[in-house]
Amino acid sequence: MSFINLALSLALIGVAVAVAPILDTVDRKLRARLHSRIGPPTLLQTWYDIAKLLGKEIVVSEGGSAVVVPLFMTVASALLALSALPPGVPSPLAPLDLLYLIMFSAAAHASFILVAVSSGNVYAVIGGFREFVLVSVNEVAFVLGLTAVALSTGVLSFSGAAYYGDFRPIPYIVSFALLSICLYVSSARIPFDLGEAEPELASGVLIELSGPLLAIGIISVLLKRFLSASITAAAIALPIMRYIGAYGLSGFSLLLALTITVWIIHSLIAASLGRSRVEVAVKTLISLYIPLTLLAYTLLLFGV
């Protein structure tokens, strides 16, 4: 791995950890604006929340101590998945980077379900099963969408796609639509926050976590959200990078700027939507994913 590649991957991980809690406060501020109120006093509010939690007692319920391992696995997988994103230079992992990204993003979701199952609380387990149903539908569509985005650029590699192969705009638009819906769903925002649906599940997956463990739980949720926004941003950045030649640091800055924009768009969508029932959410998604996938692959197959 070249030095610049390693440095930019590490920089992306560092930025994700530092910025995701700030972006979460931006979320809360935006929601407050829509309610005509002030909201959190500073942009560091989520950081203050995390700092407070780190100083609190850890209470672990009977049989719930195993929760620590999947919690750290969720954070680690989300960070590893982030490192695979094209930071503006062709990844040495290409063409395996696509596989790497899919593997670690799936691992992040799977470990989060394990957090629920191992926390020893029935509400957490219900949340975990809801998450499982949603993730099973969504991950299949995510893999198909991501592959279609890469194929529409001619190369079966996400980061390499900016450099080689033909760019086919029509299949790209359809597959990007599919991918961006999947990534909104995996950001676990309303109405797809089924695993944590606060009113009925009392925080679901996170219900048993307290103190520093809860802080890690919150960071893992925010990192998964950042990952979703970054993959969407990377999919938008690819054609832009081809045409304006934004490589290296400028490509990296483009990726970051787009990630923040996508995060804000996600939070505006969440603020304007209501909560839905678990089976309605899954049915709606299936009815959207099947036609979009068929259309994207038909267009790719016929070389449009």
């Binding site: 002030i38 006093p41 700092a51 407070k52 609190k56 007692e57 209470v59």
Partner: protein
């Protein structure tokens, strides 16, 4: 041993709403505190759904015998430092139900039961009123986390003693 609430709590206060059998008027005032008009989030206040996440229990009602075991469990589930804001005349001392057979009569009696069960409450602030006003609840929260000082001296007067 009681634990002093850390300074970090002054910037982030997560509250858990615990109704112990109130008439619901105090609960509606709590909702007022959280809704856009009062906007408690501007002080770093966030309503949480699990007692495991909470710093402060917003306790309303005179603690009916039926709710007592659940209330003890909920407070036990909170990580230390464990703070309670007893809201309304009922939570403060039983209110109009203070001598009713079906309630234990306010937070001071609950505190004794909790201590007998090894559940320590690190700090309590009482917010009187029937129902307590939302401004008073926010003021009570600020006193509880140490943003404001208490204006009253610690002094207990028993009924029937003293003057006359």
């Amino acid at each position: 041993m009681r634990v002093r609430p850390p300074k970090a709590l002054r910037k982030s206060i997560w509250v858990f709403h615990l109704n112990t059998g109130s008439c619901n008027a105090c609960d509606i005032e709590i909702l007022d505190v959280l809704t856009p008009f009062m906007d408690a989030e501007r002080f770093g206040v966030k309503l949480v759904a699990s007692p495991r996440h909470a710093d402060v229990a917003l306790l309303t009602g005179p603690i009916t015998r039926e709710t007592l075991p659940k209330v003890v469990n909920a407070l036990k589930a909170m990580p230390r430092p464990r703070l309670v804001l007893a809201i309304g005349a009922c939570a403060v001392g039983g209110g109009i139900w203070h001598d009713s057979y079906s309630v234990i009569g306010g937070f001071p009696r609950l505190k004794k039961i909790l201590e007998e069960n090894g559940v320590i409450i690190d700090r309590v602030v009482y917010v009187p009123g029937c129902p307590a006003r939302p401004e008073a609840i926010i003021y009570g929260l600020a006193v509880l986390i140490g943003l404001l000082k208490k204006k009253v001296k610690k002094e207990v007067k028993e009924a029937g003693k003293g003057e006359g």
